[in-house]
Amino acid sequence: MSALSFVLQTIRIAIPYLLAAAGGVMSERVGIIALGLEGLMLSGAFGAALGSYYGHSAWFGLLGALAAGLVLTSVLAVATLRFRANQVVVGVALNLLAVGATRFFLRLVFDSASNSPRVAGFGGDVSGNAMLASFANPVVWIGIVALPALSWLLYRTPFGLRARAVGEKPEAAASLGVAVVPLRLKGLLIAGSLASFGGAYLALDQHQFSDSMTAGRGFIALAAVIFGRWEPMRVAVACILFAGAETLQIQLQGAQLIPSQFVEMIPYVLTIIALAGVVGRSVAPAALGKTE
């Protein structure tokens, strides 16, 4: 295997992680637990297939992903911000809802239990290197800039300063005149859009939606958020690390050095170790998950 194909494949695998993890960082930094990333990605993937199918263009796919993701985000926002429901419970419910609803609408719209028909994607007509062709895709570039841009947003703008304050100490932020709930809402909308783009990437890259196609990627992204200690640039490194392990696994499949199940465990085991504080402690935003 060549180094270039390794790098390119790692980036391809990392894109949905980078997007969803950026959403996760945004959500958790304003104090809302990002357990629903998986569901947001899945609904984004379905929305992308739906938009691309009816609009005959991947751009409509992106629009569809955004719409589907924001529907789910608004459920999350109403439950956690308006009704102050427990965020862990809402996150779990959101994932169940996304699995159930995408299957239901898959049958309603496409009359299939497993997948949508083939839909338009980006850069399909670029001839030559298929690996390079997949970079003729705006979502790839959004994924690459998402976390650096988020880092700038969080640390270099007034919005970011307020967002961090709200995630650490909402009472203090409120006493200085920051409207906590609207700010959290903005954070959630950004998070939902990013995560749904992560799902859209999957559907548009494979030119179809298939049942439960996110396959736990939302949880890997969540692992990256925690392993990266909620710092956008560290989280980006974590995403690339996890994607790199996966690429190695795929490219060494014939070699059978270690069983694939053990490679699958890597992100989760690393995250558990990071939480235990063996190598530099992961500490969550102070107000994460607090409802009062």
Binding site: I33, L35, V75, V78, A79, R82, F83, R84, A85, N86, V88, V89, V90, V92, A93, L94, L96, L97, V99, G100, A101, R103, F104, R107, L108, A113, G216, F219, L222, A223, I226, P259, Q261, F262, E264, M265, Y268, V269, T271, I272, L275, A276, G277, A284, T291
Partner: protein, 373 residues
């Protein structure tokens, strides 16, 4: 004698208030779910009444369907209890899925290795112990990390789900499966009899006597929570850990033991499939029952007896999905499950807020009345 009316109003209120705070939220949630269910059925071009009648007929309406409901409710009772016991101590055990799988795996493997001549009851008890220990072991990891390092048990249990399920997948696929399948060789001893062996009407359904074990577990949990000292400590930690610590409770120890107890209950649920239904461990048998336990505990309001009822409800929805699949996609009931969770999660704080407001305004009214005379 206006003063007398104040305590009487006060004593009537708490009972009513307890009733409302226990049942109002689930009832509201079910009503919301029913409305959304109607709308979804209409989008599919079917009549809600027809679909709901089919759902009833396929579940409670015939012995086989009811047997399947009882079978599913058995597992859900265990995972619901697992989430609720942890929840009473202020812990979120989102790992019931993998604890359940590990429990089933341990029971299956032990049953496979026990000689066929082992007395049935002894083998069953040994497998039960194995299932509970295995579930508790999985849950001990987040338990230690939470108690020792303050690591969020939510994240650790979620991450551990993937680790444990991948590990089991590897063990079964690489070590001990029956060729061409994803399951282990059948157990030789320790199987639990089906209900249909004594009640022929249940013929064909998977319901088995693990049901009684699950009911017993709920009763023991009730007794433990409300009648024992450690149950009291558990609840004290859940309500106000700092106060409990001040009162002499060793909070970190309670957190650890509660997590293990919770895992043991989830592991117990693995018996239902492995010993009572198939007679072997099969890849993916948990099938979301661990996560559904969260819904069960929520609707059952974290009370073991409420959980028995809620387990029946969600088992009915799950089995009902299969019954209506010819008319509408069975995922309809998955959506309804999620809606019920969301509705209860939002309604509970809201109902309590409204009740507190109502009680407060009643109290001010009463004070005004008494001061007026």
């Amino acid at each position: 004698m206006s003063g007398a009316s104040v305590p009487s109003a006060g004593s009537a209120n708490p009972l009513m208030q307890r009733f409302l705070s226990a049942f109002l939220a689930p009832i509201v949630a079910l009503a919301i779910a029913a409305v959304i269910g109607d709308l979804l059925i209409l989008t599919f071009g079917e009549a809600p009444a027809t679909v709901f009648r089919l759902l009833y007929e396929g579940t409670w309406g015939n012995p086989y369907g009811f047997g399947q409901v009882l079978y599913k409710a058995t597992t859900l009772t265990c995972t619901g209890l697992a989430f609720a016991m942890a929840g009473r101590a202020g812990l979120f055990n989102v790992g019931a899925e993998s604890q359940l799988a590990m429990g089933g795996f341990a029971a299956g493997v032990l049953g496979m290795f026990l000689p066929a001549s082992t007395p049935g009851v002894l083998a069953t008890v040994l497998c039960l112990a194995a299932a509970m220990c295995a579930g508790a072991t999985v849950a001990a990891v987040p338990g230690v990390l939470r108690a020792k390092f303050g690591a969020s048990e939510v994240i650790v249990t979620i991450m551990l789900n993937f680790v444990v399920l991948a590990l089991l997948n590897w063990l079964v696929a690489a070590k001990i499966h029956v060729p061409e399948t994803l399951h282990t060789p059948p157990i030789l001893s320790g199987g639990v009899a089906r209900l249909s062996a004594s009640l022929p009407a249940f013929h064909g359904s998977a319901a088995n006597w693990t049901l009684l074990i699950a009911i017993a577990a709920a009763l023991v949990c009730t007794w433990y929570l409300f009648r024992t000292r450690s149950g009291y400590e558990l609840r004290a930690v859940g309500l106000q850990p700092d106060a409990a610590e001040y009162g002499g409770v060793r909070v970190s120890r309670v957190l650890f033991t509660t997590m293990c107890l919770s895992g043991a209950l989830a592991g117990l649920g693995g018996m239902n499939f492995v010993l009572g239904y198939k007679g072997y461990y099969e890849e993916g048998f948990a099938g979301g029952a661990g996560f559904l336990g969260i819904a069960v505990a929520l609707v059952g309001r974290n009370h073991p007896l409420g959980i028995l009822l809620a387990a029946l409800l969600f088992a009915t929805l799950s089995q009902g999905g299969l019954a209506v699949n010819a008319l509408v996609p069975k995922q309809l009931t998955d959506i309804l499950t999620a809606v019920v969770i969301l509705a209860v999660a939002t309604a509970v704080p809201e109902v309590q807020k409204q009740l507190r407001a109502a009680v407060a305004s009643a109290a001010t009214l009463a004070t005004r009345k008494s001061s007026a005379t």
